[in-house]
């Protein structure tokens, strides 16, 4: 009892630390520990005895043997397939993020400048798709883009084309699906940022001779930089590892790393290799982000 009281009254269990501890514990349990487990698996080899993965450390005859197998990583580095799928993933994620920004920015801007009474309605419209199943919405695109789908029917009926366009299972259908699914994640942070902006800055810019276009590029865009970064990250990061959309809308030319992971894990049942692929994905995303954050922190700290 005394110890507990001591702990509660002490430095470590202050209210502030308790508050911080909750998300900290959550992140540790839900992200760090699973990641370490995945990392551990990636350094083992598939067990012949039916286990999908082996052990890292064995104790036999009083000797601890640590067996770190790096061949999974070497395999990834040597096989072109992985390099191509990684690059494909980065490419499609980058295209998705760019298109989401181009479409989402005017959208968010319009919402933020709309009358305060209209804004909640517009916000609701952006979030409405979340009320329907994600899978259902992606399937709906199949119905629209298929050879005998709605779009081709429409184009033939108005006489724009004679033969149905082949849209499904192409880069085009993949990107449409990705942009459609991720657009709200771009709009919401941008809107949150733009709606806060002090409009007197635009008046000041106009007063100093900036045309509305110049004021937009010189004032609005730089001031919404944090929203642009947040939205881009929110779209780009999950898009790199996206599995469902390429699976449903993509084709042979849109092989992405999510699909590769699935195959290693469920088809080949090679957990160690799948884990190694995962670790590389995470590093590919985390390292540039960490560098970016460090650069940003340094820039803000500079007088």
């Amino acid at each position: 009892m005394k110890t507990l009281k001591y702990l509660l009254g002490g430095r470590w269990l202050s209210g502030r630390n308790l508050v911080i501890a909750v998300p900290f514990l959550w992140l540790t349990m839900a992200f760090l520990v699973p990641f370490l487990i995945v990392m551990r698996i990636s350094f083992t080899e598939a067990d012949a005895g039916g286990n999908p993965f082996g052990t890292l450390m064995t104790l036999a005859d009083g000797v601890i043997t640590l067996k770190v197998k790096i061949s999974n990583y070497l395999f990834i580095a040597q096989d072109d397939l992985y390099a191509i799928t990684y690059l494909n993933s980065l490419k499609f994620a980058a295209i998705t993020a760019s298109l989401c920004l181009i479409i989402g920015y005017p959208f968010a801007y319009f919402m933020a400048r709309a009358k305060p009474t209209v804004r909640p309605v517009l916000l609701m419209l952006v979030m409405m798709p979340f009320w329907t199943s994600f899978l259902l919405r992606i399937y709906a695109w199949k119905g629209i883009l298929a050879n005998n789908g709605i779009l081709n029917h429409f184009l033939i009926s108005i006489g724009a084309i004679n033969e149905p366009l082949h849209l499904m299972n192409t880069q085009f259908s993949l990107i449409i699906g990705m942009v459609y699914a991720y657009l709200p994640f771009m709009i919401l942070p941008l809107y949150a940022n733009l709606v806060k902006m002090d409009l007197r800055f635009l008046e000041a810019a106009a007063d100093l001779g900036a045309t509305p276009m110049q004021a937009f590029w010189r004032i609005t865009v730089p001031l919404s930089k944090s929203g642009i970064v947040a939205g881009t990250m929110l779209v780009f990061i999950p898009a790199v590892g996206e599995y469902v959309i390429p699976e449903l809308l993509g084709g042979p030319e849109t092989l992405m790393i999510g699909r590769q992971l699935w195959d290693e894990f469920f088809t080949n049942n090679d957990w160690p290799l799948a884990s190694a692929v995962t670790v590389v994905v995470i590093l590919l995303i985390l390292v540039p982000m960490a560098i970016f954050n460090k650069y940003k922190a340094e820039q803000e700290a500079r007088p």
Binding site: E203, D207, I219
Partner: protein, 373 residues
Amino acid sequence: MTQEREPFLLIRNLVKEFDGVRAVNDVSVAINKGEIFALLGSSGCGKSTLLRMLAGFETPTQGQITLGGKDIVGVPPYERPINMMFQSYALFPHLSVWDNIAFGLRRDGLPKDEIAARVEQMLALVQLTAYGKRKPHQLSGGQQQRVALARSLAKRPQLLLLDEPLGALDKKLRERTQMELVGIIEEVGVTCVMVTHDQDEAMSMATRIAVMSEGRILQVGAPGEIYETPNCRFVADFIGSVNMFEGSVAVDEPDHVIIETPECRHYVTHGITGTVGMPVSVAVRPEKIAVQAEAPTAAQRAKASEDGYNCVQGVITAMAYFGNETLYHLRLDSGATLKVSRTNAARHDESALKRDQRVHAWWDGADVVVLTS
């Protein structure tokens, strides 16, 4: 003063309606080159709307604005030769002090070295040469105010607009900055229209003041004129402190007027335009009133112009000591309250008055203002 030349800024019958409510109601005013013109009024009187119409952020419902003979209604803000110093400055937070000042010059497409020279000149003008690389949030309030001024002067505008220029500064800093600001504006020689709700700011900075209320200009004049010869009750009451006596004209002679009010009979040594029996207000400023324990002497009575006039008795009910002066509240026999201020000229005043003391108060017949509206 003769008005031979066309005034520099001419505002004629200007009206601005918001949803049918007239924020600015038929305002006409002429402002000369080189003037510092203040629009003074409480919040919601339309002064800011008027300023925003000059800047081009609001379009007038009716009326004309001409600057240097050219009609500027309909000219967008970014094409007007007018710059504004915004209330709480609106400095661009993502740009350095240098880039804030250069912003307008760059929009004009001036050559790089000319922009640099002009920015340096502006920084020197507001004594911030060493601060060019700082961001606005790294500056004190007074420094931000100077950056805002430099930014609004950098393009050498024909007209400078100041929106509550000192509103964001604390009292001590405000007094010093007032002088500095006027100094800089005069050095540059720019015509200036400022908006303020602070009468001290308007009085100390402006060459002329327009007092506004409910969208209209009530009086335009030099600070002294506004203070000493207000043309209506609102202006007399709004500017400074005043005692108002309500009564009617009893005698109307060319060289003097006698006005009867419940408190006393007023002998006014200047003529008014009015008729006998007409209801009027007599306004007397607290500092124009003498207060003393004993009855006025014969010499003092002569100054009050006529025996028994311009003289009241009352009891001190409250007093506020300000250091340089003391403000007394007298309850008169009629029940009205009279505000009197007395300069504390000597350190140890022998004739110091005390609370609850019965005193005499009197004033010169030339020092009152008779108001009919």
